[in-house]
């Protein structure tokens, strides 16, 4: 079977991962795993919604922003996408599930783009958001699923429901 994976990393994963946060070893380990996914998964896509890019950018020193953009544009499987065109009906859906507007926008973006996983170490996000369209988990859980290989079954199940 041709493997595919569509992924979003929340801003905190970029901040912890590029900032070498000692407390967050799994966030740091995400990036080498993404490199492997790029090499081994034919249809791998890492989405960077505009609101997440903005959030990371605002928390970096201005001198680091160019390098962050070079990192962001380093591979064609990293997809930067505007969040202005997300259908409002999807945002309303996630509002009704109890998310704040800014989180609802990301969740709606994920559903709109057929994303399989949102990885976030913000427990307000990954613990509260349980839907059929995609999985939210933290970096540790994502890496555990990846290492065990169970992640591919989960993706198959998500695809089957679409």
């Amino acid at each position: 079977m041709k493997k595919s994976m569509r992924l979003i990393l929340d801003a905190n994963e970029y901040i912890f991962g590029i900032g070498k946060a000692i407390e967050k070893p799994y966030s740091m380990a995400l990036f080498p795993s993404i490199r492997t996914l790029m090499e081994e998964v034919s249809e791998f896509r890492l989405f960077i919604p505009e609101i997440i890019r903005d959030e990371v950018q605002r928390n970096l020193a201005p001198q680091r922003i160019s390098e962050f953009y070079r990192f962001m544009f380093s591979d064609e499987r990293i997809i930067y996408s505007s969040t202005y065109d997300v259908p409002k009906v999807l945002i309303n859906k996630y509002h009704e599930l109890g998310l704040k507007s800014e989180d609802a926008l990301i969740a709606a973006f994920a559903e709109w783009q057929g994303v399989h996983f949102i990885v976030s170490d913000n427990r307000h996000f990954y613990e509260e958001l349980k839907v059929e369209q995609f999985i939210t988990c933290n970096a540790e859980e994502f890496l555990r699923l990846l290492t065990s290989g169970n992640i591919w079954q989960i993706i198959e199940q998500l695809e089957a429901k679409r």
């Binding site: 801003a11 905190n12 901040i15 912890f16 991962g17 590029i18 900032g19 070498k20 946060a21 407390e23 967050k24 990036f31 080498p32 993404i34 490199r35 492997t36 790029m38 090499e39 609101i51 903005d54 959030e55 605002r58 928390n59 970096l60 020193a61 001198q63 680091r64 160019s66 390098e67 962050f68 953009y69 070079r70 990192f71 544009f73 380093s74 591979d75 064609e76 990293i78 969040t83 202005y84 997300v86 409002k88 945002i91 509002h95 704040k100 507007s101 800014e102 989180d103 609802a104 926008l105 170490d121 913000n122 307000h124």
Partner: protein, 111 residues
């Protein structure tokens, strides 16, 4: 040089910024020139720059720029020094709330 005409939609704040810095200031003749200049600068800055090892592509390029970024941040003392990861997450949540207010609330509404 042959030209291609494209119609694009850009966020209002970006339009105002572009107009203020490049057109109203007299740096560019008109908005079309301003957009062309911006695109050329962008491509030179992020795709055609000289300080990258030759032949670097794909996942290797991804890791190269990740390590470069990590090194630069580390040399500056890291991100959010002295803050716990929970405090960092709270700062990021507030940043996201502010971005939403500034850029999206008028477009999508707030609940």
């Amino acid at each position: 040089m042959s030209m291609k005409t494209v119609t694009i939609a850009i966020p209002e704040d970006l339009y105002e910024n572009l107009k203020k810095h490049l057109v109203d200031s007299g740096r560019c003749e008109n908005l079309s020139d301003a957009i062309q200049l911006s695109l050329r600068c962008f491509l030179d800055e992020y795709f055609n720059y000289p300080d990258e090892p030759p032949g670097l592509e794909g996942p290797s390029k991804f890791m190269y720029h990740l390590e470069k970024l990590r090194k630069e941040i580390n040399e500056m003392g890291g991100l959010f020094p002295g803050k716990s990861s929970e405090e960092v997450i709270e700062i990021l949540r507030e940043t996201r709330r502010q971005i939403y207010e500034e850029k999206y609330a008028a477009h999508f509404g707030r609940k």
